[in-house]
Every structure is written in structure tokens, then in C-alpha cells.
């Protein structure tokens, strides 16, 4: 390698060393966090904003990260908190101007075949906030009720009843025509 090539090889790597570590972190976790944001927010535009904000916040807070908690767990907790704040403040804004949630939309599932993942994604987006968040954390993300309760700041029994309520509601939304 000629000297000039060395400089060229070294300089971009030097400028991006810190960034490449952070990019690796992003590549590892972005999909899972985006999915969480998408299912919490119920749409792609808000999910993308949330994803960006979560990683910016992570970047700012990395100094506060403690070795004893695994990085993925730390990042996921940060993501859940941010998504939760988002949904709650959105609800607060909407409550000020709109009616409370009405009855479920009529099922928009076409055909009589088996329920697909896409059907379920659409139905989840129609759930009321509180039971949607509990359902996503418990049934999709696989948290225990105890952990769901802690994340959402509710009682364990409330988590159980919210998740059950969500499943009953999904059943109605997904019923065959």
C-alpha cells in the first residue's frame, strides 16, 4: 500500500470509528425498536420519528449506561419509555378535541381464509391505547405481566385484564364475515 493510500484508508476509518460502533448498535436493534414503535403508535410515520428520537436519546445518554445492565435491555427500556410517553401525550392532545373511542370499526378483513399476520397488525392498530400497549408488551414482545405492569406503571392485575380485553377485542375485529 502506498503512503497516500494508507492516509486515505486511515482517515475515513478514523473519522467514523465512534460512529461505526454506534452504527453497529443501530443495525442490531433498529428493527426490534421500530417494530415496537410501530405497534405502539399504530402508524409508520410516528414510528420512524420515534425510532430516530430513541437512538438520539441513546446516543446522548450513553454516558449514563452502566456496565451491569446489558446494553440491549437498557436500550429497549429506553425505547418502551419513549413510546409510552408518546402514546400518552398523543392521547392527552386528542382527548382535548375528540370524543372518547367509539365502538370498534367493522372488520375489514377480506375473505374467509386463516387470519394472517397482516390482519393482526391492522387489528392491533385499532385497539384502544391502554390495552394495545399491554398487549404488545405481553403477547408480542413476550414480557411477563409483572414487567408489563412495571413498564406501564399499572398493577399486575390490571396488566392481565388489559391484555385479556385486548385479545377479546381482537377476536371481534378478526371475526370472519
Amino acid at each position: 500500500m502506498a503512503e497516500t493510500q494508507v492516509v486515505h484508508a486511515l482517515a475515513p476509518a478514523a473519522a467514523s470509528d465512534d460512529e461505526s460502533a454506534f452504527e453497529a448498535l443501530y443495525r442490531t436493534h433498529a428493527k426490534r425498536i421500530y417494530s415496537l414503535a410501530y405497534r405502539f403508535a399504530g402508524n409508520a410515520a410516528e414510528a420512524e420519528d420515534l425510532l430516530q428520537e430513541i437512538f438520539l436519546q441513546a446516543y446522548r445518554k450513553l454516558g449514563g449506561f452502566r456496565r451491569e445492565s446489558a446494553l440491549g435491555t437498557w436500550l429497549h427500556r429506553l425505547a418502551v419509555n419513549r413510546c409510552l410517553d408518546h402514546v400518552r401525550s398523543r392521547a392527552a392532545r386528542q382527548d382535548a378535541v375528540t370524543e372518547p373511542l367509539g365502538p370498534d370499526h367493522p372488520p375489514d378483513r377480506a375473505g374467509t381464509g386463516p387470519i394472517t399476520h397482516l390482519d393482526l397488525e391492522r387489528a392491533i392498530a385499532q385497539l384502544p391505547d391502554a390495552c394495545r400497549m399491554a398487549f404488545v408488551l405481553h403477547d408480542v414482545e413476550g414480557y411477563e405481566h409483572r414487567e408489563v405492569a412495571k413498564r406501564l406503571g399499572i398493577a399486575t392485575g390490571t396488566s392481565k385484564s388489559q391484555v385479556h380485553k385486548a385479545r377479546l377485542r381482537l377476536r371481534r375485529l378478526l371475526r370472519r364475515p
Binding site: 460512529e19 456496565r67 403477547d139 408480542v140 413476550g142 405481566h145 385479556h164 385479545r167 377476536r171
Partner: protein
Amino acid sequence: MSRNYHAPASGPACERHADALAALVDDTLDPRDRGPLDEHLAGCAACRDLLADLREIRSLAATLEPIEPPARAWHDVRRRIAAEDQPLGPRVEWLGWWSFGRAAVAAAAAMAAAILVIGPAYLALPPSSDTPDHASRAAAAALEAIEGSHAAAIREVEQRIGTGVPIPAPARDVLTRNLALVDDAIAESRSAVEADPRAAIARERLQAGLARKLTLLRTMAALELEGG
């Protein structure tokens, strides 16, 4: 989803077993409550359908695929980080190696600038007055002084890599790409030190290359450890 949905499970007996049924779907039903529920289910088609449907929903939810974010999201994150990076000051203590990485970056960047200024003159090594034997011993000592401090740490991390949860392909590719770059730079500066053990720039560059290699290896080990 069951055809019997329109026969709602709402008899008084169904109501009495509603909590147990919800717990059964959750796999949290106390085994002692299982008997009475089973008895009810045996005689109630509506509750059997309800149970089957709720279990189907739960199992579908557990197998939902992760959703791919748009590719532009990373570029936007990077742009926003760059825009606000200055006032942030140094971040420390990310697994210990985050700050280590930054120090290596600063050293390597300073060095790259120095090489740019010195240019090809650096390669025109001054003729050595040493005997060949003395020169090679000096080179070996110089390499030992620089590499010795990193060799053990690099070996230790290399042994840990591959024992944890495999890193997802996109992250692994970024890291492997950088690792290959760093290995090239290390090899290059190593030959420069061998050629002239007194060349401070070559020694510093080897030092920084090894430090960066350690940073990248630690990144890999940390990502494996926490398993995505």
C-alpha cells in the same frame, strides 16, 4: 376464528369461569382451578371456541415478524447526531470502550493529519548507520514494546468472540469491514516500524491501529454478549 362466535359465552356458568379461562390462555392458571374449568369446557362449545380463538390470537401475536425500518432512518439519525455532536462533550463509560474508542480516534486523526503534512518524505527513510543485526534487534524491541501491551488484550477478546449470540448480519458486516481496514493499516505500519524502528510516526500509527482493533473487537464481544 370460530364460526360459533355469535353464540356469546355469556351464561352465568361462563361468567364464573371467565377469569380462569383468561388465565389458561396466559398459562398462569392454578392447577387446582383447572378441573372445574375443564368440566365447564366439556359441556360448553362457546367457551371452547373462545379459548381456541384467544390462543390463536396469542400465538399469532408471538410470531409477528419484526418490521424493517426505512433505510433513510439511519442516515437521518447520523445527520442529527453530527449536527449536535459538538456541544455534547465526551461521553464516557460505555462499557469502558466507548471512551477508549474516542481516544483512539483522536490519536489516529492527529496522526493521519501529520502523515498528510509530511507526505512522501516520510517514506524516504534516512540511511541507517546500524549494522543489519543491530537494526533487526532494534526493530524487534520496538515492535515488542508497542504490540506487547495490546497483544494479550486482543487475544483475550478474540477468544470470547464467537462464543455468544451471533451478531446480526448488517452489524457484523459494518464491524468486519472496519476490522479489515484496521488490519491493513496495522500491517502497513508494522512494516514501516520494521524498516525504521526509530520512526515515531510509524510507531504511533501501529499503536493507534492496535488500539482501534481492540475497540472493534470489544464492540463485537459486547454485542454478542447482550445478544441483540
